[in-house]
Each structure stands twice: as C-alpha cells, then as structure tokens.
Symmetry: C2
Subunit: 360 residues, 2 copies
C-alpha cells in the first residue's frame, strides 16, 4: 500500500534512507553485524557519530564555540535539562508562551524549583498568533529566554528570531532542519529527532560553550559538560537512532541543504494554505504571517465532519490528518521528507471532499 504520512511525529522519513537502513541491516559495512548489535565503543560507530556531528555542523553552519550532543529523553527531557544546566545564576527564566509545548517547558522549570516569568502570551487567543516581546529584556534579569520556534500543535512559527539581550533557548523540535535559522542567534537549541531528523529516541542539543554552568545535583545523563566531555557517550547512546539521523543528514546535504528544505517546505505549505484560504469548507486559523511551514492546522469547524474526513482520507492513503487531541480539528505535517506530490494528493482529496460535503 502506497501512502502519504502526514503524522506530526514520529513522521515520514526520506524513502532512500529507509531503503538504506533495510539494505544495511544484516551487515553494516560488511562487518557481519547489524547497526543494532555493534558496540558504541567500536571504530564503526565512532565514525557514524563523528560524521553525524560534522554533517550537522556543516548543514547549520554551527560555529566552533557551540557544542553538539546527542541526548535521550526528547524535548520533555530538555525542559528539565536546560534549566538544570543553564539557570543556576538567577534560577529565573523568561518564557514566550506561544503554545502548548512552550507552556509545558515553563511548567517543568517551575516543577524543578525555578522561577518562570511569562513575558508575553497568546493563550487567550488560542495561540492563533505568536506572542511578541513588547520591550527589551533587562540584561541581568533572567538566565535565558525560552522560545518554541515552531508550535507543532497550533501551527505557528517564528520566521524571524525574537530580539533578545539575554540568551535564547530554542525548542526547535518541529522545524529543526526544516527552516533556516542562524544558530548564533541562540544560546542553546534542542530538538527531538522524530520530525525532520529521524526516528524517535534521540535528541540533539546545540549549546554555546560559555553558557554551561557547573551543574550540581543534576542527573549525570542531563549534565551537558559530561555529555560534551564524553562525546555524547557517557553511557550507551541510542546507537540506531544516531545512525538513522546520520543518514537523514546526508540526505539533506545531497538534496541541497537546509535552505533548499526550507524553500520546499514553504512552497508546500503555501500551496496548501492557498487552497484552504480559498475554500469555503475549510478554515486555517493561524495568523497568516505566523503560519508554520511544517505543520498546517485546519478544520471544517465541524467535529463530526472532521472525523469523517480523517476516516475517508485514511481510506485514500492520506494518513494521520487528525489534529492534536488537545485542539481537535485537522493537521497536515509537511516535514522535509514529505514530497510535493503528497501535498497535491491532499489538496485533490480536500477538493473532492469539499465538493461532496459543502452542501451537507
């Protein structure tokens, strides 16, 4: 069965990468062992992780004063790790409350005993647009400003980075490598892999050297300095997930890099938003300048009809169009590995659906 998978994550991966994983499986590099079975201390794996780090540094132009680590625990793990490592001077962080995941990051820091100040929020407007800073942040006020570059659930994204005198920590999980940012605008960037980078189970952390504080009473697997000192191998890393991410990085390079990925994602989402805006049945609620290139949120404004659509779409091979359970409606995630053909097939389907149901 040939399908297009619009899942918000874990999500569609590049077909050539899946094919290579399949080819490599019984015997990686003619070693007689699969990637699942080789020691993380082997030269074979050291080469894989070294190449992944080098390719990521190259793709995002990451300067030498930023370290790259592979961690476990996803964005939720980093919601704890970041304050534990970076917020021990003032134990006070600032937040742009742009959506569900930003709010969760704030809650986790609060849970761990840090003070969290929300500088701006658009929660009252159901996060349909992005919160903006109304005035400059005093330089000695907070340890950092937490920003979610792309709001997976609400379908918005900061296409320009907020101006900030204090370091910005960016949760880039859902548009990492899918939209072009200058890493030097951030103090720290983290991203769960399961959107644009690979399978679930590995998290990338890119951190500016001077921000790392001596972490006390922090679980070792969350200690950035230890992770850096040990080359992301304080303990056994998720070897397969790092290998698969490495293949995705090579695919992105071969396809033209992050600029090309961003161009494609914008073209794909523009096409879909244009259709939705012209349609009489569908509504894409996000504020136009803030719309995400990777997660297109929409609905018929009718829960029952949305459910019918998801069912019919699934039957037609257009998978995982259901919106996040917290907001309902519909969502099409258009990550790097989603081809324009998928968007065309979706628009054709939505058009037919509209023809059938607009009189209903």
């Amino acid at each position: 069965m040939s399908v297009f998978n619009f899942s918000a994550g874990p999500a569609v991966m590049p077909k050539p990468v899946i094919e290579q994983i399949q080819r490599d499986l019984p015997s990686l590099d003619n070693s007689g062992m699969s990637i699942l079975e080789i020691s993380h201390r082997s030269a074979l794996f050291q080469n894989i992780i070294d190449e992944a780090v080098a390719d990521l540094r190259d793709l995002l132009n990451i300067p030498a004063n930023y370290h790259i680590c592979f961690a476990q625990g996803g964005g939720t793990g980093q919601f704890a790790a970041v304050p534990l490592n970076l917020a021990n001077n003032r134990r006070h962080i600032a937040l742009l409350d742009s959506g569900t995941w930003a709010a969760k990051a704030g809650k986790e820091a609060t849970r761990l005993g840090y003070q969290v100040t929300t500088l701006a929020t658009t929660k009252d407007g159901k996060y349909r647009e992005l919160p903006r800073l109304k005035q400059a942040i005093p330089a000695d006020s907070f340890d950092y400003l937490h920003v979610t570059t792309n709001n997976t659930i609400e379908g918005t994204a900061y296409h320009t980075v907020p101006e900030s005198e204090i370091p910005i920590v960016a949760d880039m999980s859902s548009n990492f490598l899918g939209e072009n940012y200058d890493i030097t605008n951030f103090g720290l960037v983290f991203a769960g892999a399961q959107k644009n980078l690979g399978p679930a189970g590995v998290t990338v952390v890119i951190v500016r050297e001077d921000l790392i504080q001596t972490a006390e009473a922090v679980p070792s697997i969350f200690d950035y300095q230890l992770a850096i000192d040990k080359g992301s191998m304080l303990n056994t890393p998720p070897t397969f997930a790092i290998y698969a991410a490495g293949l995705v990085l090579k695919w992105i390079k071969a396809e033209g890099g992050v600029t090309e990925m961003a161009r494609r994602n914008q073209a794909k989402s523009d096409k879909l938003y244009d259709y939705l805006d012209e349609s009489k049945l569908f509504n894409a609620p996000a504020f136009k300048p803030d719309r995400s290139y990777t997660n297109v949120v929409f609905s018929t404004n009718n829960d029952e009809l949305d459910a019918v659509l998801v069912k019919e779409a699934t039957a037609a091979g257009l998978m995982n169009l259901k919106g996040h359970r917290s907001v309902g409606g519909l969502r099409a995630s258009l990550y790097n590995a989603m081809p324009m053909a998928g968007v065309d097939a979706l628009i054709d389907f939505l058009y037919q659906f509209e023809q059938t149901h607009q009189e209903a």
Copy 2:
C-alpha cells in the same frame, strides 16, 4: 562475512529478529509506513507496546502489583531516577559494592544528595568475588538496598538474591532475561535493553506499586508515577527500540522462555569456563561460585598477548573479545542470542591460540 559477536553491549541479537526487522521495514503490517515513521499514538504502535508489556509480564511472571515501564537514559539514567523516586523517606540507601557499575550507582545517588552506605564491598580483591551481607539490615535503616545482579565488567553474578528485610533495587542490565529470578524478591528491577532485550535506546523498569513515592522536583521523564499513568508515553517513546525489544521477547517465548535461556547460558559459560580452567595459558579470575553466565572474563595475564589474541580473533570472525577498558584482558559475552556454535568456535580458536603461543 559470517561472524560471532561477543560484544558486552550493544550485543548480538537473535538472527530471526534481525530478519523480521528487515522484512517489516518499508511497511509495517502493510500500513505503507515503517516502524520508524508511525505515530506513537497510533493503534499500530499501541498494540506493539501493549504486547511487549504483556509478553514481559508473562516471561518473568510479574505480579499485578508491579508496573512495567519503558524509559530512556539507560542504567545511568536509572541510577538517578531510582533514588529520586524511591529514597525520599530517609534519603539514605544501602549498597552492595560488587563492581564498577554498583559503585557508579552509589556515586550518582551521592551526587544527587542522597546518603549512601556501602554494606559490603569486594573492591580490594578487584571484585573477583561478590560481596555478601554479614548481618541483617535493620528494617527502618535505608530506603532500599542497591544490588547489581550481574557485573558485566568483572564477570560475576548473584545466582541467589541476597536476603534483605528492606526492598532490593536490582540493576539487572546484563543478565535480564538471561538468568531466572523471582521478581517478587525485588522492589524494583531495571535493565538497559542492549544486552538481552534489544537495541540500545530503551530501558525497562519494573517497580512494585507501594514503593513509589510522590516525587517532587524530579524531572518529569524520571517520574515513575507519570510514566505509569501515561503508559510509558508521557512524551514520544523510543518507538523502534520498543518494537525491536517486543520481537526479542516473542523470540524468547518461542524458544522456551527465560528458564531455557538460563539453561543455555549456563551450559555455554560452563563449557567455556571448563576449557579456560584446564588451559595452561588462560586464567578466568572470578571466584567459581560467583561466575557470571553471561559475561566470561579471562586473560593470558599478558597484555601484549591479549592484544594479539583480540587481533587474531577478529580476523577469524570472533568479534569484540577485548575486556572492558577499565580492567583490560579479555571478555566473551554469551547473551541469549549467542548460539553454542559461537562458544565452540571460540574454544577451538583459543585452543589453537594456546598451541601456538604457550611456548612463547
């Protein structure tokens, strides 16, 4: 190239499992999507994780008052998670210092502000035998006793569980599912997958319900109650690693269960120890009654000759025989997926090596 992989972990996996992963890859259950691409919220994945939990419960006869969770972060993550969740009454834990990993567990608890009392240690004897409790532990003394059931680096294992009035927390990483234990002897068992259970990237936690304390100021991804409430899906779990572990569990069931695995592992290690004990060149230092069934540690007592052996063995397709870098020497890990044919090939090789080198 056909090889036998004696790696201590990540380690050899059952061949039929690797073959099934390869077959399943492009389209899991004819879904048109690979296991790497399906949502953790899909019925397809829910079924996978539910079956893995049920199969594990079945294989180890885990009673209903024990919860089973899949976590991230490995044993090192659990070195932090366990005290954070279970040691908040007395903030004081007891330790049997049986090897490098036991000592590391103690260090991590100390780092996090818990008091750690080593009740017995065999460090002075280079951990060649297991430390034993000399007297009963007062019931109101410690939150729990930390025990490493199998010492991967030193090649020893508790074949009978120490008697303890207080709950035992078992780090079972390197003989989980490879040796038969009664789960009800433990308050909590954890194990990184990358020995007997599957690829690196997932950690099993089995915890007795009544021991879980309300965890405050604990990172959410380490909070057992949250993990239980959310069915191991507080956030995106390592879907592929759980799927692969599930296939390994089904393989173990089909092969006769943990009793049969333990029988085979004991037979394999007995054969190798017998050869080593009779040999004039090799020495297996572990105290005989304490010898591990899964990690056979030995050497020629000559670092240079050990290095020659590793090199020649590799050329002969006998991979990863180098001992852990902290102790040197040689090590053959004989996990569930290592067939007796691998042990026979190793003994043949060692015999030939001895013939060639005993005069040296």
